[in-house]
Point group: C2
Chain length 303, copies 2
Amino acid sequence: MKTLGLGRNEVNKGRIIAGKAIARTVQKEIAAKAARLIQKGIFPKLGIILSGSGPSQIYAHSKERACAKVGIRVETVDFPADVKFEDLKKRVEKWNREKSVHGIIVQMPLPDKVDSARLLGLVDPAKDVDCLTPANLGMLVAGRPRFLPATPAGIVELLVRSQIRISGQRVVIIGRSEVVGKPLANILLLRGKRGDATVTVCHTKTRKLTEISRGADILIVAAGKPRFVKKEMVKHGAVVVDVGINQTDRGLVGDVDFEDVAPEVSAITPVPGGVGPMTVAMLLSNTVAAAAAQTGEADNAGI
Amino acid sequence: MKTLGLGRNEVNKGRIIAGKAIARTVQKEIAAKAARLIQKGIFPKLGIILSGSGPSQIYAHSKERACAKVGIRVETVDFPADVKFEDLKKRVEKWNREKSVHGIIVQMPLPDKVDSARLLGLVDPAKDVDCLTPANLGMLVAGRPRFLPATPAGIVELLVRSQIRISGQRVVIIGRSEVVGKPLANILLLRGKRGDATVTVCHTKTRKLTEISRGADILIVAAGKPRFVKKEMVKHGAVVVDVGINQTDRGLVGDVDFEDVAPEVSAITPVPGGVGPMTVAMLLSNTVAAAAAQTGEADNAGI
């Protein structure tokens, strides 16, 4: 009981990183950039390819709503679950050609029988605002990123806007997925204030994980395991970013045991309301940047 | 003097990884694969684009000799130092089209005024046997590599053929270059026996480097600083891979102080004769694999 009481008091010491509020600020900035383009007759537009029901419907609709708020036009094509690859391909190719479409999203998950990697590979890298094409991931490794993938970029933006220093810090990432862990490691190794970190990537094959995670100044958890990270795994005073979002019978929870860990840290993101809102904001940012780049307005729009 | 004497005795305990001998074995295997293709009338061929004198000449010639030994044809086009970008571009495009050319190398360094990144971006990814195009680097991050870049692939091959376990080990890489550190980190994070490592990347902005490098089961050094790593930076019994090659008044030396470090470790690569020979071998391997893939013989050639 004593520990619990102590924990409750100390939660207030651990600063909660206000993902929602920061995302709102970012969205305001994006709306201003979009407005400058619209004044010049350029209407930033995102095309979303969707197939099948379930989570992909929900994700797509939340992106549509966010676009509407900042002045980005959206066209969603909702294909039936038994869609042929050729039809998806034709839509990608049509939007690749159309000057009025600046960003293209292939909303995951697609039906199992669709070769999503092949479809993604067809998206014009200049319109790949999710930064999922090999060409754009490769530009990132080569140190000349065109776009940054939304979730990793959102994490970095959260840290920077919370005045948390990244350069020279020891960052430990738990999780080596293609959409979070690996691109995030590559971003944090870039030169500059969003990078210059000493980066360690851990995963299911990692031994002595606690020893490693306790060495982190900034611990970023994308393990996909509800409440996986306990206070023993975190250094006192560290910054913890929770990328997980797990549906449990206690509601949505992250990969970090928030109540257990929060008293130990100097800052922590909540779930929900932490990384999530930033992911959508970064997608909007990429779309407006794409519209500006494709129309030669990158400098004028302040992007 | 005592330390020196001890060092000399103990050097024998640290196994020296025989890069040259392993590279010879790999080259024999490549020659056998090339021979199987040649029997079917497929002559693996590498095109090398070269401009300017100095190191690029030396690198290109050593690749030509290595190709000749394993049965790969080479065509080197040696452009004058004041070559126009358009002429280099035309050559890349010609080789992209020619079915008889399976691999294309843009030999670095090119003259300063040539935009090498732009030129590299023009190479057909299927013929990019150096794995330097964004598309191929991105395939690596996405976990579906087409080729692996030669130096990082050579390092991993050295470890695997020396029966050094990678999976689950803590690997620390010193150096975050686009040709070694970053692609190597991405390879070591792939699934399987060449990956599954817990990977940390350190660089000039890293603080407490000694503390981090001492945590490594496998320490890979690509810092570009002669004899930079001393025994204090290495855990007793670790494996040390030295990617450095520095011309000094004492001759060629690596980034590791070999005499100082060798007594402490369970295995170490020498310089020269360690990673260097493997780099060329991996390039040959990629070229033969490219020839097999482009002619539909990937399975038959045992590649």
